[in-house]
Structure formats: C-alpha cells, structure tokens
Symmetry: C2
Subunit: 81 residues, 2 copies
Amino acid sequence: MPGDKNEIDFDIELDKLAKRIKSLRVAKGYTSYEVFAFENSINRVQYGRYEKGNDLRYTTLLKVIKALDMTPSEFFSEGFD
Amino acid sequence: MPGDKNEIDFDIELDKLAKRIKSLRVAKGYTSYEVFAFENSINRVQYGRYEKGNDLRYTTLLKVIKALDMTPSEFFSEGFD
C-alpha cells in the first residue's frame, strides 16, 4: 500500500540503531566491542550483530542501553529522528 | 551476581512498555486495541500481547510507535525512567 503511513524502511532504522549503539560504546572508551560486551555479560557474537544492524528483542536492547549506563529516554533522545 | 549493574527486572520494564503503548493508543481515541491494530496493519492478536507486556522485536516496536504517530524519542521521552 504505497504511502501507507506504516511504511518503515527497517534497514535504515536498524542502521540508525547500530550507529547509535556503536557511537555510545566508543564514547565510553571501548575500542573493542568484544571487551565491552564481555564486561557487561552480553554475548559477544550477538552484540557484534547489533552493531551491524541486526534486529533484536526489546529486552535485549534494554540490556545494551543499561550497559551504556543510559535510560531508554536518554538513549533514544538522539539519532532516531 | 547481586548488584550486577545489568540486573534488569524485565517484567517491570515490559510492564512500563505495555502501559506506555496502551495509554498512547487510548489517548489517540481508540477504545478498542483491535480496531487500532487493524487500522494500522498490525496483527491484532500480537498487538494485544504487546499491551499485556510481551516482549517484541525492535522493528515491531517501531511499527507500533509509527502507528501512534510518534518518533522513537517522543515515545521513549516518558514512562521509562
């Protein structure tokens, strides 16, 4: 349905999410995503996929946001509009 | 690991999400979640579960947020801290 307001380009949205996660991880001083994931008890292989734009469950995203020491509102305040 | 900073009570977090989705759906004038879901091309049974606190994929959450005519930052600006 062209013009369907629910038409979302998920690739673009997942790319925004990936970029946001990665930039915050680097801003926290972690050059290695694997060290960041390990230190925060997040599966390293899975975490690597999130920074590459894979979809993930809301609860998993909350784990990542928490590991970045942010609240959901802080996390989503930038990079998604 | 007590005190592990990643210790998140997912039930509480999913309940916050469910309440936020439902309150915004009602605020848009939809007394029936089924009509809201149908009009926004979202599976009605699945949508009902999101308002009851089921976990969901990020891309699915984006569909709900879009159906509520909000951006992610607007959606997460309230109800999650």
